[in-house]
C-alpha cells in the first residue's frame, strides 16, 4: 500500500490488548483480527480514513508496547514508527489508567499532535472505576475521548477531535518524575469504588490456579476438539456432501458424457472415471476433486476450528492456557506463550508462523518454528487425514497424531539441550474474561474463512492441474524411479507416492487426497500421511518462514524436517 506524501499518517499506539485493533477497524472500516490477548497484532496494519474536512489520512495499527524506553526486539517496530507519525492516537484501557498513562507521558514528549482515547469505557462502571474526563484533559493538556471500540461508542467524537488537534510543547521528564506525575494525575482524576465480583470474574480466578486451572484446561481443550469435530462432521454430512452428490454430481456426469467420457480435456476438467463413475475424491479433475477437496472436505473444518478458536480468543482464555503449560514448554526450550502460535498453526501454519514474532529471541523462534513445521498439522491436512485414514479406523488417525505429538516432545527436548542459551522468563498480562460478542466472533470467522477460500482454492486447483499434466508427460514415472530406494526401501511405500510428496510442496490437503486412488494398505497410508505432515513445509509456510527467520535458519529447519521424515518413516515401517 502506498502512502502519498500529502496524506497524514495517524498512528494508533498503546499498551498491548487495550483494543487498538477494534478502534482501527472502526476508523478505517478495514477488517482486522481482534482478540482478547496481548499480541494479536504482530505486524503493523494500515488502512485509510477521512478526516473532518474530507482530508484523506492513513491509519496505522501499531503492535502494543508498554513503554518506549525498554523496548524488546518485538517492540522495536513500534518505537521506530512513533517518530514517523503526523498524529498520534494513544489508546488506553480505561480500567487500567495508571499503567497506561506512563506511555502517554512518554508519547506526549514527542510533541506530535496527539489525542488520548479512553477505550473500554463500558467496562469502567462494573469495575468500579470513575474517571473525570474533563479534569484528565486539563491535567494532560491533551484532548481525551472515551470510547468503546467493540460497539463503536465515541468513535465519532474521536474523528471529530482528530480534525483540530494541535502540536504540544511538553518538557522531557525523567523516569521517576514521570511516575510521580502519573501518580498525581491518577490521584486527582480517578475514583475507585467497591464492586461485586461477577460470575466471569470468579471463573477467572479459578482458571489461573494451578490445580483447578489444569482441570479447566483439560476440559476446555477436550470440549474444543469435540465441538470442532462435531460441527465439521455434520457440516460435511448434512450440507456439503449432499450438495456435491445431489446437485453437482449430475451436472458433472452430463459434462462427462458430453465430452465423450475421456480424452485429455475431459481428464483435466472432470477427471478419470472410476468404473464409469465420477468419484469426488479419486477422479482428480479440476471441477470434481479440485473443488471437492477445498470446499467439501476442508472448508467445514476450517469453519468449525476458527469458530471455536475465535470464541476462546475473545473470551481471553489463551494467556491462561499459556500460564498452565509454561512449565512443560520450558522443557521444550520455549515458554508458555509459544502455545499461541502453535494453536494458530493448528488452523493454518501461515498465521501460526507469523505469530512467531510474539517470541523474544532467535533461539526460541527457531525451536517454535521447527516444532510447528514438523509436528503441528494444519486444519486442511487434519481434515483430509481424518477423512481418508479415518475410513480405515479411528485408531490409525490416532497413530498419526500420536506420532506427531511424541515427535514434538522429543524434538523439543533435543533442541533445548543442543541449542545454546535459555528460554526466557515469562512475564505477561492475563486479560479479564470478556463475554465473546456473537457479531464480533462471526465477523472474525468470516474474515478467516474468506482468507482461506481466497488463498487455498487457487492453489488446490493449480495442484490438481499440475498433477494431471505431470501424469500425462510421465514425469512422475521418472521421479518414481529416482526416489524408489527411499520410498520402497525405507518407508515401504509404492513408488507412485512420490507424486503426492511432490504435490505436498504446493498443498498438503491435495497431496493426502492423492493417496486415495493409490490403493495403499492401511499401514502404507498411515506412513505416507505422517511423512507428508513432516517432510517439508508447504510453499506458503516456506515463504513466511524465510521472511520471519531468514533463509539460513529456514534451510536448517527444512534439513531437520527431511531428516526427521526419513527416520520416522523408516521406524514406522519397521514397528507398525
Amino acid at each position: 500500500m502506498n502512502v502519498k506524501p500529502s496524506e497524514k499518517k495517524i498512528l494508533l499506539i498503546g499498551n498491548p490488548n487495550v483494543g487498538k485493533s477494534a478502534i482501527f477497524s472502526r476508523l478505517t472500516g478495514a477488517k482486522v483480527t481482534i482478540s482478547n490477548y496481548p499480541g494479536t497484532t504482530v505486524g503493523f496494519t494500515q488502512g485509510f480514513m477521512k478526516l473532518r474536512k474530507k482530508d484523506p489520512a492513513v491509519v496505522m495499527d501499531v503492535p502494543g508496547v508498554y513503554n518506549l524506553t525498554v523496548a524488546s526486539k518485538a517492540d522495536e517496530v513500534a518505537v521506530e514508527m512513533v517518530s514517523k507519525g503526523d498524529l498520534i492516537v494513544n489508546v488506553l484501557d480505561s480500567t487500567n489508567l495508571e499503567r497506561n498513562l506512563f506511555l502517554t507521558l512518554e508519547l506526549r514528549e514527542k510533541n506530535i499532535p496527539m489525542v488520548v482515547v479512553l477505550n473500554m469505557w463500558d467496562e469502567t462502571r462494573h469495575k468500579g472505576v470513575e474517571i473525570d474526563v474533563e479534569k484528565l484533559e486539563k491535567e494532560l493538556g491533551l484532548p481525551v475521548v472515551p470510547t468503546c471500540g467493540l460497539t463503536g461508542v465515541g468513535i465519532k467524537d474521536l474523528v471529530e477531535s482528530l480534525g483540530d488537534v494541535k502540536e504540544g510543547k511538553f518538557d522531557v521528564l525523567d523516569r521517576d518524575r514521570k511516575w510521580e506525575e502519573v501518580g498525581r494525575i491518577v490521584e486527582s482524576t480517578q475514583k475507585l469504588h467497591h464492586h461485586h465480583h461477577t460470575l466471569l470474574e470468579r471463573f477467572e480466578d479459578l482458571s489461573i490456579r494451578p490445580k483447578t486451572g489444569l482441570f479447566i484446561a483439560a476440559l476446555v481443550l477436550y470440549l474444543s476438539f469435540s465441538v470442532v469435530r462435531f460441527v465439521g462432521e455434520n457440516l460435511i454430512r448434512y450440507i456439503f456432501e449432499p450438495l456435491f452428490q445431489d446437485f453437482w454430481y449430475p451436472i458433472m456426469m452430463k459434462l462427462s458424457a458430453l465430452m465423450g467420457s475421456g480424452g485429455i480435456l475431459h481428464d483435466i476438467l472432470v477427471g478419470r472415471l472410476i468404473n464409469g463413475d465420477i468419484d469426488f475424491v479419486q477422479s482428480f479433475g479440476l471441477l470434481t476433486t479440485g473443488l471437492f477437496v477445498p470446499v467439501a472436505a476442508v472448508l467445514p473444518y476450517i469453519f468449525s476450528f476458527y469458530l471455536v478458536l475465535g470464541i476462546l480468543e475473545d473470551l481471553g482464555y489463551l494467556p491462561r492456557l499459556a500460564t498452565q503449560v509454561d512449565n512443560l514448554m520450558h522443557r521444550l526450550g520455549l515458554h508458555g506463550y509459544a502455545i499461541v502460535p502453535m494453536i494458530l498453526g493448528l488452523g493454518c501454519t501461515v498465521p501460526g508462523a507469523m505469530a512467531l514474532r510474539l517470541l523474544e529471541n532467535r533461539r526460541e523462534k527457531f525451536i517454535a518454528a521447527t516444532l510447528m513445521a514438523i509436528t503441528v498439522p494444519c486444519m486442511a491436512q487434519t481434515a483430509m487425514i481424518v477423512g481418508l485414514v479415518g475410513e480405515r479406523g479411528g485408531g490409525y488417525v490416532a497413530i498419526i497424531f500420536g506420532t506427531l505429538f511424541i515427535l514434538m516432545i522429543v524434538k523439543g527436548l533435543i533442541l533445548n539441550r543442543t541449542m545454546k542459551g535459555n528460554s526466557p522468563e515469562i512475564l505477561w498480562e492475563i486479560p479479564p474474561y470478556r463475554m465473546p460478542q456473537i457479531i464480533a466472533v462471526f465477523k472474525k470467522l468470516w474474515m478467516r474463512v474468506a482468507e482461506f477460500t481466497k488463498e487455498a482454492i487457487p492453489y488446490v486447483l493449480l495442484g490438481v492441474f499440475l498433477v494431471n499434466i505431470l501424469y500425462m508427460f510421465k514425469f512422475f514415472d521418472l521421479l518414481a524411479r529416482v526416489f524408489a530406494p527411499v520410498l520402497s526401501g525405507l518407508w515401504g511405500l509404492p513408488k507412485d507416492t512420490i507424486s503426492a510428496l511432490l504435490v505436498g510442496f504446493l498443498r498438503k490437503d491435495v497431496a493426502i487426497g492423492m493417496l486415495g486412488p493409490m490403493n495403499l494398505a492401511t499401514k502404507q497410508l498411515v506412513i505416507a500421511s505422517t511423512v507428508l505432515a513432516i517432510y517439508f513445509p508447504c510453499m506458503a509456510t516456506f515463504v513466511v518462514l524465510v521472511r520471519e527467520l531468514g533463509g539460513k535458519d529456514t534451510m536448517k529447519i527444512v534439513g531437520i524436517m527431511l531428516m526427521t521424515a526419513l527416520i520416522v518413516g523408516t521406524i514406522m515401517n519397521i514397528v507398525l
Binding site: T323, D326, E429
Partner: protein, 76 residues
Amino acid sequence: MSGKCLTDMKKGETAVVKGVAGEVGTARRLESMGIRPGKKITKLGAHLWRGPITVSVDKTKLAIGYAMAKKVIIEE
C-alpha cells in the same frame, strides 16, 4: 536488595513491593507492567514445580516466571 520475595508469599496474601533485585532491564519490564516500589501486590497462585506465579496489581493480572518472581522483593 534482599528479603522476602514474591515466591515466599502465600496464596491470597497482599503485600507492598519494596523493589526489584538484579538487572535493571528486569525491573523496567516489571515496572512498565505495574510492579514497582510502593505498589500493593496480591498473589493469586503458584504453579507446580517452580512454574509461573500469578499476581494482581491494580486491576491487572500478571503471570511471572519463577526466577523473575524471586527477584521481586516485598516489604515484611
